[in-house]
């Protein structure tokens, strides 16, 4: 600090707020004024709600206010004579205890994780292949790019509505095409049975419940998700491919490397920062997916094969006005996302090669 203040030329003696100092202060003031609108909005509508949401999750929330704090004892039977148990019982974490006992919550988490675990590798795998192919010297590259990206920019509700009809069991073109090929028809979005259960029953094998697999309705939604996001992932992958220096390929080719070796030994490792970014981004994206799942889920379907936690939070709030409970559910979901992101950082982050 001392060195810096020595370097600053002495201010004129006419006053404290003059010359350089005044200019600096003015600049800072103007800077804060510039930052105020954006940060004001972000703080009020993004930051503050995190804390407010936690408060709501502790409450029995009625319309617009905390009617009373939701004690744990409402959902767990505790020995009131035990002072420790009584203290735990009076904690305002009732909504969380309710959530952990709610089979719907666990089921929704399972659906969410399944949705993510299938759609992320599917999306990224297809996108990587498309990006790699598009990166070859091919004709009509811009046309392919634009067309593959198109699903990503169109209105989700509109394209999901169209897909919902494509999947229609009796009139939809997908079943019509299967029929034309001599294949069996499916109920798609209206099918709550698991995919292994369907295959099993076709083969005359009765599978136990735990082996039923994800519902066909969820798989149908995963196909749609893939259709939407492959274009985005491909675009990002292509930008990543563009960052790999061409000399590396040239050098490897001189050493007699095959096309597959180039891909395996150069493309994959040097693309890993991009892949890592996409992995984190798409996992988070699948966890908060809502619009298309909501639109494509039929009003009545047994077993809720497509009810993700995001959908459950929405229903608890929108249909039942359980604000406190849905706020608690959203914190549970956040904890899961955070844990998964940390695990991904540890496991996948180690394999990322930064050139």
């Amino acid at each position: 600090m001392a060195a810096i203040s020595q370097a600053v030329p002495p201010t004129p003696r006419t006053g404290w707020l003059t010359g350089r100092r005044l200019r600096k202060l003015q600049e800072a003031g103007l800077g804060y004024l510039f930052l105020l609108p954006a940060f004001g909005i972000l703080i009020v509508f993004q930051f503050f709600p995190v804390f407010y949401g936690f408060y709501i999750s502790l409450c029995n929330w009625k319309v617009t206010g905390c009617y009373n704090l939701m004690p744990v004892r409402n959902y767990v039977s505790l020995d009131a004579s035990n002072p420790i148990a009584a203290a735990i019982g009076s904690l305002p974490l009732g909504n969380y205890f309710k959530a952990f006992q709610d089979p719907e919550m666990w089921h929704s988490l399972l659906v969410t994780v399944t949705y993510s675990a299938i759609s992320v590798p599917l999306q990224l795998g297809i996108a990587l292949v498309l990006a790699y192919l598009l990166f070859q010297n091919i004709r009509g590259k811009p046309v392919y790019r634009v067309l593959i990206f198109m699903p990503y920019i169109t209105s989700t509700v509109a394209s999901a509505s169209v897909w919902a009809f494509l999947y229609s069991p009796d009139k939809g073109p997908i079943n019509a095409a299967l029929h034309a090929l001599g294949l069996p028809a499916f109920k798609w979005l209206n099918e709550s049975r698991g995919i292994f259960e369907i295959v099993g029953s076709a083969a005359g094998v009765h599978l136990p419940n735990w082996a039923a697999g994800p519902g066909l309705a969820l798989i149908a939604i995963i196909f749609y998700t893939t259709w939407v996001f492959v274009g985005y992932d491909t675009t990002i992958f292509m930008a990543g491919l563009g960052n790999i220096p061409n000399e590396l390929y040239e050098a490897a080719k001189i050493d007699g490397a095959s096309g597959w070796q180039l891909f395996r030994r150069i493309t994959i490792p040097l693309l890993s920062p991009t892949t890592f970014f996409l992995l984190i981004y798409t996992v988070i994206g699948t966890f908060k997916a809502f619009n298309h799942i909501f639109v494509m889920t039929p009003l009545e379907i047994a077993g809720d094969p497509t009810t993700t936690t995001s959908l459950l939070i929405f229903r608890q709030m929108f249909q039942y006005n359980r604000y406190g409970y849905s706020a608690a559910l959203s914190f549970v979901l956040f904890a899961v996302i955070l844990t998964l992101t940390i695990i991904q950082n540890r496991v996948a982050g180690r394999r990322v090669v930064y050139s």
């Binding site: 600049e27 930052l35 949401g53 198109m150 009809f165 259709w227 096309g259 908060k288 929405f314 929108f318």
Partner: protein, 301 residues
């Protein structure tokens, strides 16, 4: 301009057909077809009669069939949304106007707040701006599901529920916009400002007369991507509006799908087409900026 040729070395070896090239084109064409097919299905179905849709006729028009192109489906879909007494028009038009109001207001607001904030972060001496930048980074980590309940509650408390304020104000700032513009503004050398300062220009004038014209591609990217997001928004408008005349197109379409459109497939497709086509046309003219905006933030994000 790509001069790379990874697997294409074989392609140029002589005049014979390279099967690997054929395979590449086949896979890409398949991908493009799958991407486009649902749109083509939507457009063709939107001008068929309901009878042809149910009968599964692929091409009911001349020369294969005798049906006329049913342009009337579009008017019928608009009519079936119902009547808005307040503004004396079909509700469809009301949905469209609401969507345009919300989209325009959001995009303009985001541009303004992002330009100012990004400029302050990139080019000005503001104490504590590193901290503010970290705050911005933290905002990205907040998942929307975490804040949706308190946000809805706040709309009730502010008495913004079922008004345009609820649809617009919370979205007047965009972390993505600030990031992208900050990155762009940082590339502008500070010497340029010092030169402008000698000419008697202040920060505000410098920003609007020099920085912004220099950053046109970045501004266009931010505007376009926020336009797509605003046009696409569905969950929030569904949560914070009650009256049918406050709906945006996406919510109107979903309500139509649950009601009339569930059985009248041809009308549902016409409605979907009216929501989708403007965006697609817009995209075709501006796609270069989309790709730029998405890749710069994507890679560095």
């Amino acid at each position: 301009m790509s001069t790379r040729s990874l697997a294409s070395a074989t392609a140029r070896s002589g005049g014979r057909i390279s099967w690997s090239r054929v395979a590449i084109y086949a896979v890409l064409t398949m991908g493009a077809l799958v991407a486009v097919a649902p749109f083509l299905y939507m457009l063709t179905t939107s001008v068929k009669s309901l009878g042809s849709v149910i009968a599964g006729k692929f091409w009911p028009w001349l020369p294969l069939g005798d049906e006329a192109i049913q342009w009337g489906n579009y008017l019928e879909a608009i009519r079936r949304t119902g009547w808005d007494k307040q503004w004396q028009m079909f509700l469809f038009y009301r949905y469209a106007i609401n969507t345009i109001i919300v989209t325009l207001a959001t995009v303009t607001g985001v541009l303004l707040t992002s330009v100012l904030a990004a400029y302050a972060l990139a080019q000005m001496d503001v104490p504590g701006k590193e901290f503010l930048f970290l705050l911005l980074l933290a905002t990205i980590m907040i998942p929307s599901d975490l804040t949706i309940v308190p946000q809805v509650v706040m709309m009730f408390q502010l008495k913004w529920y079922n008004t345009y304020l609820a649809l617009i104000v919370p979205f007047l700032a965009s972390v993505f916009g600030i990031f992208l513009l900050r990155q762009f503004f940082m590339q502008i050398p500070r010497d340029l400002f010092d030169a402008a300062l000698i000419d008697g220009s202040g920060h505000l004038r410098y920003l609007f007369t020099i920085v912004m014209p220099l950053s046109k591609p970045a501004l266009v990217s931010v505007a376009l991507i926020n336009f797509i997001w605003a046009w696409d928004s569905f969950k929030w408008p569904l949560l914070v509006t009650r009256d049918s005349n406050m709906r945006v197109l996406a919510v109107g379409l979903q309500q139509f799908l649950v009601g009339e459109g569930g059985t009248n497939i041809h009308l549902m497709m016409a409605f979907s087409a009216m929501v989708t086509v403007p965006v697609i046309v817009f995209y075709f003219f501006t796609q270069k900026y989309f790709t730029e905006g998405i890749t710069t933030t994507g890679i560095k994000g």
